[in-house]
Symmetry: C2
Subunit: 450 residues, 2 copies
């Protein structure tokens, strides 16, 4: 029941070369897919190293699909999904999973909501039966909804309102997105969470929780055909709507101005500089553009060999850390972020000028060829290493498919990264124009009465 | 077919002491009201100085009621309302009004859309018949809708996109409102205007154009009872929905950060500093608070005796003009603005510090009693002088009633302004905390690469 940001590229993984079942039989990441008659997608990722299975149901709806004035409902419903059905009263399944030595949880993001269990392979059927049951039979009573709303409000108070860094992040999101709902926090605005009731939750559940909107991901030590047969039997019996739910989202207009946010709070122990830019996602980009942004993020700020780190932390000693990230798995236009944490005594103004100088420098002189080659190799290697984690692998498939990508896109990803040229990266750098970006200063003391 | 901002307080007028028909018979601004059986409100303002009448129909829907992803539809429909009915084909009525020496036009704002004619008093019936006809019988064909959309797009290009000051204003609005639709431009975002079609326009028309949603304002040399009888006959025959349309708008969360916008463009001939704060409107304020904000705007920036003008323009010669404004007639939380135009050679940073110093100064020392008394007297006097303009008077009633105020509120306004104390104004100053505000820099040249 966490509310993560969409998976950052450096944290996620892909690298299934080639990844589709057609192209590849029993590789370490062989993938088999099916679509049930009721519209539910099934993806089975074979992984035979341990007698364990990861079972996930992804719904193609997230906080950006919250109805107007009802921010937080996707996440609130995720909480309520643990409140039980007639067949599985609250707590019964969780207890069983725990008794069997498994884990379960769920998370809500901008574009999707997912529920998962990690458990011994013999118990896959129990998990399927449970998820199929709560896809349609959730019991929502006022007695359950009202207290859980307080749980969510408390979650918001602890995680967001008590943390100036989170408050600034929320404001940065709202500044990047003036019209598109990515500007709203996943957990919701407090004054809107307070109004969420049983009817809101039920209407939302009735709108999105249906097989046509769901993707089943099973990764682990399983026989793909047997899993698909089981899914057909268990999930196949869930009544569909007849048509898949639609997402309706306004698009973000082109950014026109430079925006600068400043938050000073005595609770801040470590000041921070952030920069955000609106950029295309894998789904909205022109061919090759998202891949170039991915490589750019790695070149500028992926680890200790990146330009920002080498220049700001190592060479100039202005920062204690610095980096960049690109959130490519996103249904609509997404964010490219830069950040730096100042060394003691360094002002954020000075740090910002140094970050700008790094960006201006590569815009003028281009990227070093060896740096570019290394960045691509590392990006692809990270993806291959990530195969080691069954959960990361399952997450990458789920997030990609839930944000409009196809299996072929995932399979072709290493080749597409390999194809990125220095010119592509310099072109992508155009999105980082300070005159169209959002800068955030998190400050550790009250500024002089301005 | 203009798209004005809501009437700024210094431009509008009220001052009907007392203004209701009950309290006052045949005063210069005697008001008579009625509600028709179909739910339409009627307000008649007697004004006998010239044989002229102002006839307005106000609808309680504006750009903030545009459906998600359909920004600009309120304004677009306002255009389309001139495209004719079977009884009144396009142009026929306009020609008649012109032949009779009258004028007609319309405007769309955040909270309302209004249509009006100024014409000789004998022609009131013709105007009523026309407005009643197009309230229900508008003919919308693709042949009419598509070209008019191009007209609106061209209007946007000329007024907004070609003017960096307008672009910055749009971005300021979007920064002040992260969630509430006041952050969207009245004319709409270009990429959304482009998608508006006949179905959108028709659905919008069918949702809002109904007697229950309309206010008729007639000001002029008329006999109130006769006007109401005529309205009953003409407008009373328009079929109602049965229930008034609802406005559904998310509320704006409390501002948490300081935001700064910067737009540099070679087309800018005169740099400008702006500051905007989210503040309560007359409808959302606690008792007395909106009146205090109104007085504060006048004290800080209402004309050449205001603090900002005296200090920045006269004493320090840092600015060539400076002022403040408060948009109180607003259904939801509204904006308090400060601005200053720098004298040659003065940077906006320096000007901003000077504006802050003025605000900090009065926050520390309070307001001069004589200044406060003069501000209140002038505000009330302006309202009384505004009685001279039949159109302003009608506008003030329409805007007030369409944003949730009652006739009694309008009548009591001078007394409520009179009751504002120095402590109230200092309290209102709390809203102008720079740490929660939006600052805009409009610059005449590209800034040095930041």
């Amino acid at each position: 029941m966490t509310t993560p940001s969409p998976l950052p590229s450096s944290g996620r993984s892909a690298g299934l070369t080639p990844g589709s079942a057609d192209a590849q039989g029993a590789s370490a990441a062989a993938v088999t897919t099916a679509r049930l008659d009721n519209g539910m997608d099934v993806v089975v990722i074979a992984d035979y190293r341990a007698p364990v299975v990861t079972h996930m149901v992804w719904y193609r709806n997230g906080s950006a699909d919250d109805p107007l004035g009802k921010s937080g409902i996707a996440h609130f419903l995720e909480h309520l999904m643990f409140k039980g059905t007639v067949k599985n009263p609250a707590g019964k399944f969780s207890e069983l999973v725990s008794d069997l030595g498994g884990q379960e949880n769920a998370f809500t993001s901008n574009d999707f909501t997912a529920y998962f269990q990690r458990i011994g392979r013999d118990h896959l059927g129990v998990c399927m039966a449970y998820e199929a049951d709560r896809m349609k039979n959730l019991v929502l009573s006022d007695e359950v909804v009202a207290p859980e709303r307080n749980v969510v409000l408390e979650e918001r108070r602890m995680r967001t309102d008590a943390d100036p860094g989170e408050i600034l992040d929320e404001a940065m999101g709202a500044a990047v997105y003036t019209s598109h709902p990515y500007g709203k926090p996943v957990i919701g605005w407090e004054h809107e969470i307070e109004t969420l009731d049983r009817t809101d939750a039920f209407n939302y559940y009735e709108r999105f929780y249906t097989p046509e909107n769901a993707i089943l991901i099973v990764a682990g030590d399983v026989e793909p055909d047997a899993v698909i047969a089981m899914a057909r039997e268990v999930y196949g019996s869930v009544e569909p709507f007849g048509t898949a739910p639609q997402r309706r989202r306004p698009l973000e207009p082109r950014p026109t101005t430079q925006r600068m946010l400043r938050l000073a709070d005595e609770k801040v122990e470590q000041p921070r500089l952030q920069r955000m830019h609106l950029v295309p996602s894998y789904r909205t980009a022109k061919p090759g553009e998202a891949e170039a942004l991915e490589v750019l993020a790695h070149l500028l700020g992926g680890g200790q060999t990146s330009l920002l780190f080498r220049r700001l932390v190592v060479a100039e000693r202005l920062a204690v850390s610095a980096g960049a990230h690109y959130i490519g798995t996103s249904l609509d236009d997404t964010r490219f972020g830069l950040y730096a944490v100042p060394a003691p005594g360094v002002s954020l103004d000075r740090l910002e000028a140094a970050v700008e100088a790094v960006v201006a420098g590569v815009a003028a002189t281009g990227f070093d060829k060896a740096d570019l080659a290394r960045a691509k190799t590392r990006l692809i290697a990270e993806a291959i290493y990530a195969r080691d984690s069954q959960m990361l692998l399952a997450n990458w498939y789920g997030a990609s498919l839930a944000t409009g990508m196809a299996l072929e896109d995932i399979a072709a990803w290493p080749d597409r990264i390999e194809a990125v040229t220095a010119a592509d990266v310099v072109q992508a750098l155009g999105y980082l124009d300070a005159r169209r970006g959002v800068t955030g200063f998190l400050l550790s003391a009250e500024p002089v009465a301005a």
